[in-house]
């Protein structure tokens, strides 16, 4: 167990943006909520996954809805407390701890704000190890954990307890209810016992985010190159370096889809990279070779500052380094690839791990 204070939150926010692989929503609101909660309720207890008793009830938390609504109608902070009370009542058991379901973007910080308020510890684990756009794209789902019973809560005090036959129904009903409740709600979702958490989550993810954030900030302070440190922490590889020359965007089925073209510089001179995204970066390739693909992580960093650039923030002229990082092994199983592999997102190729693509399998 260790304590998370304001300094740690600043670092985690940067790490969350990096593991957000270009999507996941701006962690800014989540960061401010966590900072205020720490100010009011004190530092947050972070538990290693091994410290969780097998029979303890763990309830992950997240937001659902439009990030644009959340930046205008900022949460109350109490809505998640209500959600947790409902689930406790329904299951007839005390909640031992909460945790994020998603490591990237805004959802990695919301459970921290909630935990400070509830006096609950947060488990150093999540269900993605990155950001993904849909509720069933979590490792818990791969292990047969049900998303429900789940509770949606709004700032007005409304609570909706859902018990559905599967995750598809959970998603369908929750999306509709979210609109009626004002476009952005807090969720208590995927309740599990400690034993299941240990088998089906990705551990040490908040610590990793914190270390990423710290190394980027420190490198910046000392005018050093932050990217090498990030690669070491994430077992990542530089895929490409260059300048964005073109971005082709379209909105399709509610997703911000598009392709960015990057003209090579440094050792990549004379070459061109194409980066395909749908909310998150999903596939990076040159004319003759695929460099990295989902569910492995692709992140674009500003070459000067090492700070992550989101898919919306990508624009012509940006000088960037594209890095690829291996995903959690659970995503590379047949079931994992079925849910988050290249074919699920409409790319007609078989998954090949980044280590193989980079020719560095031995590392």
């Amino acid at each position: 167990m260790r304590l998370i204070g304001k300094e740690e939150i600043e670092n985690i926010a940067i790490g969350a943006a990096l593991l957000g692989t270009g999507g996941g929503g701006d962690p800014y609101i989540g960061k401010l909520m966590a900072l205020q909660a720490i100010e009011e309720y004190g530092p947050i207890k972070l538990l290693n996954i091994n410290e969780v008793p097998d029979d303890a009830l763990i309830v992950p938390s997240a937001m659902m809805g439009a990030p644009t609504v959340m930046v205008e109608k900022v949460p109350n902070g109490e809505e998640a407390v209500e959600a947790f009370n409902s689930i406790k009542e329904y299951l007839g058991k005390e909640v031992f701890a909460t945790m994020p379901i998603e490591a990237g973007g805004v959802n990695s910080l919301l459970p921290l704000a909630l935990a400070a308020r509830l006096g609950l510890p947060v488990i150093d684990a999540d269900g993605m190890g990155r950001a993904f756009p849909e509720l069933q794209m979590v490792t818990f789902f791969l292990n047969g954990v049900s998303a429900t019973p789940m509770v949606l809560s709004d700032e007005k005090g409304n609570n909706l307890l859902l018990n559905t036959i599967n995750s598809v129904w959970a998603e369908r009903i929750a999306r509709t209810a979210t609109i009626e409740m004002g476009g952005s709600v807090m969720l208590a979702i995927y309740p599990m016992d400690g034993k299941t958490i240990k088998a089906s989550s990705i551990s040490n993810i908040l610590t990793l985010e914190e270390e990423i954030g710290r190394s980027i900030r420190e490198a910046k302070r000392h005018n050093e190159d932050p990217i090498q440190e990030v690669l070491k922490l994430t077992k990542g590889h530089i895929l490409f370096q260059g300048k964005v020359t073109d971005i082709n965007r379209k909105t399709q089925e509610g997703f911000a889809k598009g392709t960015a073209s990057i003209e090579g510089t440094h050792e990549f001179k004379e070459n061109e990279c194409f980066l395909h995204f749908q909310n998150e970066h999903l596939l990076a390739e040159t004319k003759d070779k695929v460099l990295c693909m989902t569910p492995d992580l692709i992140t674009v960093l500003d070459s000067d500052t090492g700070m992550p650039i989101t898919t919306e923030g990508l624009k012509y002229g940006a000088r960037c380094v594209i890095i690829g990082m291996p995903c959690d092994p659970m995503w590379r199983t047949p079931k994992g690839l079925e849910v988050t592999g290249p074919r699920y997102f409409g790319y007609d190729i078989d998954f090949t791990p980044i280590e193989t693509l980079c020719g560095k399998e031995s590392e």
Partner: protein, 518 residues
């Protein structure tokens, strides 16, 4: 009968002033150092330009001022109003209080009276809860006599501002007319915290704006000039003194905007990149249909994250007075610090002791200024490398501001622009207009007046096309009322946001029309 106008623009290094005739011919131009208090530098530039022009003072009809007073007050945390902050949004928004994330020294000054009351709207225009009017009366009585400016921000006020206007009405009733009221729906767009910050900053600089305006009017009167006074705002149009005092934050970043507008006027180009080389920095902006491209990201002012409209400007620490340092290994460093307006004293070519970018350009014969003999001892090969780096820095900034790889026209303005060559990478042509040194003051003088309408229309009634025309007509009328010439009006900004779940296909439409003074 000929009439004249004065345009003044305050930069980091110089305060520039011009007098134009009614056909916008430049009658006289001066550059004068920017003073620490800003005002005395403005008055001096104004007196000098009037004197050197020989124009009869009673023929000066308009005076346009683009100033940095408001920005400076925020950055220096000085001369700020006593502000009350009212947010309408509870029970939502309580998880992040106002001014969280704002630097502590500013929070201490502006955060003394903060309130969050019940009210606000959903994204679709429904009320989250009813506005708690009783609470507003309580607050009004509590802050009476303790504050002179109130910032009012309601959740989703860009969709419905009815709670903000109701609160303003109550506060006005209790506190009287001397208290300034800033409404967020008139200042920023969706994004509560950033809009609230912008509104609080606006409330904090109301007095600074008032004193600046009064001082300028008095200074003109002292010279016998009874001109109508306008302030430049950051979209390239003018505000009356009354409007400036209400929305002073709109003056922030009017300087780069004035340069862009002046460059457009001097070259007759409506779409181009403008590189403004001052004494300390180089600002690169983009002209689209003669107006600056607006930034789409959150903008930091004095460490505060805001989201009101700002010109999209890339600024680098490279100007005519930028200091160049050479070490023993023959490596060099350019800036970012500058000798500023002391260049004529400190630069080598003027007999000073500091190597500046201007010295480098003169030594290489790229510019003619001062005494080239005084830099003839420098190593030419090294100077070439330094100069190449200077050009590269500018070219890289130009490239970052472009939206595609295609070459575009580049206009070079500002006193420091003599440093740079007439060929730049990524430019289809490089234009250095006459009066390039005071393009910003010219931009200030030729600014147009605008009229804006922002309200919710029911599209079903007339259809989208007709409704937009209706709104445009209203904006045009506003501009004409503000003094614009009806024959030269243009629609310069148009935005419509459909509001879901409201009967009649309700849409919020914002239109701005701008044109020359009649």
């Amino acid at each position: 009968m000929t009439n004249y106008r004065i345009g003044i623009d305050v930069g980091g290094t110089h305060t520039d002033a011009v007098i134009l005739d009614e056909l916008y011919n430049v009658i006289s131009e001066v550059k004068s150092p920017t003073s620490e208090d800003v005002s005395s530098g403005i008055y001096q530039a104004m007196r000098e330009v009037v004197k050197s022009s020989d124009v009869p003072v009673d023929k000066i009809q308009y005076a346009m001022l683009g100033t940095t007073h408001c920005t400076n007050a925020i950055v220096e945390r000085k001369r700020l109003n006593k502000v009350a902050v009212i947010r309408i949004g509870a029970p939502a928004t309580l998880a992040i209080k106002p001014l969280v994330g704002v630097p502590d020294d500013l929070k201490d000054i502006l955060g003394k009276h903060m309130y969050i009351v019940r009210g606000g709207h959903e994204f679709d225009g429904r009320e989250i809860v009813q506005l708690d009017e009783e609470h507003i009366y309580e607050i009004a009585n509590e802050i009476k006599g303790h504050v002179d400016s109130v910032a009012i921000t309601s959740v989703f006020s860009p969709v419905s501002n009815s709670h903000e206007t109701k609160v303003a009405e109550i506060i006005g009733k209790v506190l009287g007319n001397d208290v300034a009221l800033s409404l967020s729906s008139e200042i920023g767009s969706v994004g509560l915290l950033e809009r609230e910050n912008a509104t609080i900053l606006n409330a904090a600089i109301v007095d600074v704006a008032r004193l600046t305006a009064d001082g300028f009017v008095q200074a003109l009167k002292k010279e016998g000039i009874h001109a109508k006074v306008f302030f430049g705002q950051n979209d390239g149009t003018l505000m009356s003194v009354e409007y400036t005092v209400k929305y002073p934050i709109l003056t922030i970043a009017c300087g780069p905007t004035n340069s862009l507008r002046g460059a457009s006027y001097l070259t007759d180009k409506s779409d181009a990149l403008v590189v403004d080389v001052g004494g300390t920095t180089t600002d690169v902006g983009v002209l689209i249909s003669s107006f600056p491209r607006q930034s789409s990201l959150a903008v930091d002012i004095g460490g505060v994250r805001t989201n009101f409209r700002m010109p999209d400007i890339a600024s680098i620490g490279l100007g005519g007075g930028t200091i160049v340092r050479i070490n023993e290994q023959g490596d060099f460093e350019i800036g970012p610090d500058s000798v500023g307006h002391q260049l004529p004293k400190k630069g080598l070519i003027f007999g000073g002791d500091t190597l500046t970018t201007t010295d480098v350009a003169v030594a290489l014969g790229k510019a003619e200024l001062g005494n080239r003999e005084l830099v003839s001892h420098l190593n030419l090969e090294l100077l070439e490398r330094i100069y190449d780096k200077m050009v590269e820095l500018v070219e890289e900034t130009i490239d970052k501001m472009k939206t595609s790889g295609d070459p575009v026209p580049v206009i070079l303005v500002g006193g420091g622009s003599i440093l740079f060559p007439t060929q730049l990478k990524g430019a289809s042509e490089v234009i250095k207009p006459n009066s390039f040194g005071v393009a910003n003051a010219i931009g200030s003088a030729i600014s147009q007046v605008s009229g804006q309408v922002e309200r919710i229309f029911s599209i079903d009634e007339f259809g989208r096309e007709k409704t937009l025309e209706l709104a445009k007509g209203m904006a045009r009328q506003e501009a004409i009322n503000a003094g614009a010439d009806p024959d030269e009006l243009q629609i310069v900004d148009l935005e419509d946001i459909p509001l879901a779940y409201l009967p009649g296909n309700a849409t919020k439409i914002r239109v701005k029309a701008a044109g020359a003074l009649a």
